[in-house]
Amino acid sequence: MAKARKKTNGTKAKSNGGQPVRLPIHAKGKRAGFYRDPANDQIFSFIIMLTQELSVAMDRIETIERLLDKNGVVRRKDIEAYRPGDAEETERTARRDAYIGRVFQILHEEAEKLEAGH
């Protein structure tokens, strides 16, 4: 019974001959749409992905600036190895939060006007 189970490590998948595994990008199931024109859903995805990439670029710039402040020189491997400490992470998070707020600030507009009684 449960206590005396033997250890096994069975699997449904066969070896893939040592080839690197590529994980699927898209989920099985219907892709959701929110706009009457599906092209708008695509454009929204492009924008949000670009917003992310710019945020990543900003983080890279910040890493470079901090390394320059500290060492006066920057080496690629130092950038790659750089991980912010807790206090710095809090600062970066506040910056990302404000940045996302600015990019999508039009989303606040209607609620703000309604709150103000317009």
Partner: protein, 398 residues
């Protein structure tokens, strides 16, 4: 003691590049903005505009989640909010997939080493003949490409790793869950410990990569702890992580609808965020199975989203979003069930049922937690997304 020191911990191995780390951090912040800041805007638009318009047109305020949904569907704020939330969901998994792909051979090796050495004394039993139920195999739950069970290579742990590391990104912007894997398991286990309940044998159903299973072993070290799931990659990952962290947990690949455990076997049966992913007939089967394998005097206590009968219409509309857009089609039907009736139909007696809202242990002041345990008032916090209280349901077997 250090028997596990020489195996790598699959839960601490992800070696993301600088830019991958910052992609992950962006997603965590984005999700917080969507679930907190922009969600507030959407509610304001509903309350100050949409509800009134509906009332002027029909003479009544929207009566339930479906009516609110119809009234909101083409509001720009709903379209944009939904787009952000939907994309953030995909981006969660995408932010960890490249590192998992790159490190997959090492992760698999670490898992194999952990299985072989098995230093903590847990176990892993896989069943490659197991029928994967349609509610898992037919669509990728939570939009996670590959779901819990797909295997891409021999001894694969990829989906366990994507789920484990992805959920860290997923909750990384929410203060009550950040850096606290397994907060549901920890909360329920602490609640029961405070109550003086000492389960000797514990089962966590739909345990995925075991994050919420581990706290039971930590908090009840003398107990025999089991975790079951249908996804082999998650179980391999969970077992390897538990062994590396020194927790003897018995993982097995089984459907919770029909397990191989004998009658009257467990003192405690639990789960977290599990039932809403099952079809309603499967939910009924699982609850019956719980009753069968629970010992007399034992307790079943599952954490879930609160039933729609206990929350207001707007919150139901807000939570049910996942049923339509997050590949969790049973979510709404599950929440619409009559929970007491469903438990009674599974074999529990009405007087023995439990429905408890428990504040998240790690972020609750000890006196507030104690007050809830002792039944001195409910916590005022909102459920799930709004903050830090977990809804649990189940019952005692007498």
């Amino acid at each position: 003691m250090d028997a596990h020191a020489n195996i790598k911990n699959v839960g601490r191995m992800l070696d993301s590049t600088h830019d991958e780390v910052h992609r992950q951090r962006f997603v965590s912040v984005l999700r917080k903005k969507v679930l907190v800041d922009f969600a507030k805007d959407m509610k304001t638009v509903y309350e100050k505009k949409v509800a009134g318009r509906h009332k002027r047109r029909t003479g009544k305020a929207p009566k339930d989640a479906r009516e609110i949904r119809r009234a909101m569907l083409h509001e720009p704020v709903f379209e944009a909010w939904s787009s952000l939330r939907y994309n953030a969901q995909y981006m969660t998994w995408w932010s960890v997939q490249p590192a998992v792909e790159r490190q997959l051979p090492e992760l698999i090796q670490a898992a194999k080493d952990a299985h072989l050495a098995n230093p903590a004394g847990g176990s892993l039993e896989l069943d490659n003949k197991l029928h994967i139920p349609g509610y898992v195999s037919q669509l990728d739950v939570h939009q996670m490409p590959g779901c819990f069970q797909t295997e891409f290579t021999k001894d694969d742990v990829a989906q366990g790793a994507v789920y484990f590391y992805g959920t860290t990104v997923f909750s990384g912007g929410l203060a009550h869950r950040r850096g606290n894997k397994g907060s549901v398991g920890q909360t329920i286990a602490q609640y029961l410990k405070h109550k003086g309940f000492k389960p000797k044998r514990i089962l966590d159903m739909g345990c995925t990569a075991g994050s919420n299973t581990m706290p039971y072993k930590e908090i009840f070290p003398q107990a025999e702890v089991h975790g079951i799931d249908v996804g082999a990659p998650c179980l391999r990952f969970g077992h390897a992580r538990a062994e590396a962290e020194g927790h003897a947990i018995h993982f097995s690949q089984q459907s919770a609808e029909k397990t191989n455990f004998p009658d009257n076997y467990f003192d405690l049966i639990t789960s977290s965020f599990f039932f809403h992913e099952l079809s309603v007939p499967a939910t009924r089967n699982v609850l019956k199975e719980c009753h069968r394998i629970l010992k007399p005097g034992g307790l079943v206590l599952h954490m879930e989203l609160p039933p729609s009968a206990l929350t207001d219409a707007y919150y139901n509309f807000y939570l049910d979003w996942d049923a339509f857009y997050n590949n969790e089609p049973h979510y709404e039907a599950f929440r619409n069930l009559d929970f007491p009736k469903t438990l009674v139909e599974a074999g529990f007696k009405k007087k023995d049922l439990e429905m408890i809202r428990i504040p998240n242990y790690a972020t609750t002041k000890p006196e507030e937690f104690k007050a809830v345990v002792e039944g001195r008032g409910q916590t005022a916090r909102r459920d799930h997304g709004g903050g830090a209280v977990w809804f649990t349901f189940g019952g005692w077997k007498r």
